[in-house]
């Protein structure tokens, strides 16, 4: 398959791994930001191929994982209203809230629909004028333009039965939060290529200048990831700290101006709580005042306060900040599995715990009970 096979070529991957091992004079600690990258790394065993040269920590780039429990509970409460149709990406349905997940809500009679694009939710609203349609809008900068387009589309069609329950998050403030934490030991970042394809790389310049860490915008295939690692290692070996782009087939320094303009028109930057991490300053996006008629939290104020419950034994926050490797969690594979998760990282397709559970190397299982 074009644009995939050449980035999974075993010979090229082995050669890159060998170059990384050759060029590193010490063991560097890198964090890949995006959960999609984490899954690619573990699926191909890239971490073990470069283990002697690089320790890979897994970052917070899993939008499902960082969505607050309050938001999930609110979504379930909305879905329980008899005239509400709650639409969401499939990923969100298995994520545990305080009282089960959206699948459970559906089994209790709620109208929960999986959509593949926010525009599908707008179409559902148009086709079902008697229903109040709420789209659970989660995701990093990658997903925001499509949501902005959906809201604009809803306004243009004059729909009065479509709202967003938003929990959009931004990558750069999260990196700043991680870098400013005293326990951080990260030498360089592999930034999430898809986020950069929308937003560009300019937002990372102040981080590089302030914290002196190389940041390499990196793709998602095995070869992309090892190329990103190699670029970062070279910078570190030379004492450099620059923003660099590995994922050139998708990322320009200025990003996608049309998409950025769309986001800018509909959303504004706000402080936002991240599940497991806490409030991240400027870490989220919310609808601008001009668009607040589409804000489900305003319109459905009848729901009132939601008090969320998190299982205390879940250490997702430590996992999301790269402080705990999932297999080192006492609950991993025991009290917490994809079928019975304690936290979101065990069920999301971008969650680090799910990646370890799914791609456990064979010897890892032999060690576990």
């Amino acid at each position: 398959m074009k644009f995939v096979d050449e980035y999974r070529d075993p010979a090229a991957i082995l050669a890159l791994a060998s170059r990384i091992r050759d060029e590193a004079t010490q063991r560097w600690t890198l964090m890949e930001v995006c959960g999609g990258q984490t899954h690619a790394i573990l699926a191909s065993g890239l971490d073990s191929m470069i283990e002697s040269a690089v320790e890979l920590l897994h970052g917070p780039g899993c939008p499902v994982c960082v969505t607050p429990v309050e938001t999930l509970d609110r979504a379930q409460a909305l879905a329980a209203l008899s005239d509400v149709m709650l639409c969401s990406f499939g990923d969100m349905l298995r994520v545990p809230g305080s009282n089960g997940n959206l699948f459970d809500a559906r089994a209790r009679g709620a109208d929960v629909r999986v959509v593949y694009s926010p525009l599908d939710a707008v179409r559902l609203a148009a086709a079902n004028p008697e229903r109040r349609v709420v789209f659970l809008a989660v995701g990093f900068e990658t997903t925001v333009p499509a949501v902005a387009a959906a809201v604009r589309h809803a306004r243009a069609r004059g729909l009065s039965n479509f709202w967003l329950l938003t929990s959009h998050v931004r990558v750069p403030p999260a990196l700043a939060a991680i870098l400013s934490a005293p326990e951080t030991r990260i030498d360089a970042f592999l930034a999430a290529g898809h986020v950069c394809s929308i937003m560009g790389t300019q937002e990372y310049e102040p981080l590089v200048a302030r914290y002196r860490v190389p940041i390499v915008a990196t793709g998602f295939e095995p070869r992309d990831i090892l190329e990103g690692v190699l670029l970062a290692v070279r910078q570190l070996e030379r004492g450099q700290a620059r923003v660099e782009i590995q994922y050139r087939r998708a990322v320009r320094p200025e990003g996608n101006p049309a998409a950025r303009a769309l986001v800018e028109e509909v959303f504004e930057i706000v402080d936002r709580p991240w599940r497991g991490i806490g409030v991240v300053s400027s870490g989220g996006l919310a609808l601008r005042a001009d668009w607040s008629a589409f804000d489900a939290e305003r319109v459905f104020a009848e729901l009132g306060e939601i008090s969320a419950l998190e299982p205390p034994e879940c250490r997702a926050g430590d996992v999301l900040r790269g402080l705990l490797r999932p297999p080192a969690c006492p609950e991993f594979g025991r009290g917490c599995t994809p079928e019975r998760p304690l936290g979101a990282p065990m069920v999301s397709s971008e969650g680090a715990c799910a990646a370890y559970y799914r791609y456990r190397p064979v010897d890892c299982l032999e060690a576990s009970p």
Partner: protein, 359 residues
Amino acid sequence: MTIDAAALASLTCLAPVEGDRITLLHGAGTGASARLFEQVLLPRLRSAPLEERHDGAVLSLPGGDRLAFTTDTYVVSPLEFPGGDIGSLAVHGTVNDLAMCGARPLALSCALVLEEGLPLATLERVLDSMAAAARAAGVQVVTGDTKVVERGKGDALFVNTAGVGLVPAGREFRPARVQVGDRIVVSGSLARHGVAVLSQREGLAFESDITSDSAPLASLVEAMCTAAPDIHCLRDPTRGGLGAVLHEIAAAAGVEIEVDEASLPFDPAVRAACELLGLDPLFLASEGRCVAFVPPALEPALLAAMRSRPDAVGAVTVGEVVGTNAGRRPVPGRVVIRTQIGGRRLLERPLGEPLPRIC
């Protein structure tokens, strides 16, 4: 057949059936469905054939003949998809379940649950398709039933078919016969049915030329049995795909299975669609393919016979049942995948209806 209790326990059967209500997870060919069967259905309906956990039951008749008996209910949405519809699927699925027991199909039943408001023209198209599929599979529909439910109490049309067939002497397709060294042969490219249905689903419709692989397998199975008279087990990788079959057999036979990622037959269009949707084709259904567990000595003859037929021209060996390997003891119930880069990792158990991811 005896079931290896330890192997079954490793199927995560230890956990209780979750919640106080049925969720979609219970129907998705997953650990939750396995628990529903083991803890809710089997204890109440226990019988020796049910305990075999096969695609159908094989009953010994007084004269010495063996009768295979199976049933399946079809709830596919949309009713019509590229390459088939619920009518042809309901014939193929049940004929194939019989074939997986080694049986030559004799007759089918057909029960319809019709929702008020279903267009008669749709029903006629589905029935015409069912009739054509039955003719092609050499089987007759000999009895049936029709019920109509109020609008909203059914999804347009549900179809149940049951089938009976005779198992020729000498055929013993059972998970318990799978043993170390067996080669795992699949009859062609996988997951086309799953992708074809997804491509038509409301809200997901995407442009593709992928048609369902839905087809009857009985005549292919006859040819396979002639070429390789001692096939140990046969399965069709429907719900849950090849991944689910491998896990079921590994658990039921108490063996470890290793598959070679590079050998897995997926059409480029199927791979591309799965890349876009974030799905693993290993867990998507085929409705006209089979997976054979066969002793290594019979593998070449089996492959040659299959490849000489248009319905199995892409037959290929994808893995084997492993024994002690480089000093490692095999772990019953485990499925390992050899990656293209040369690593080995566990193949996860399917978790539920595949859900496309966010980005």
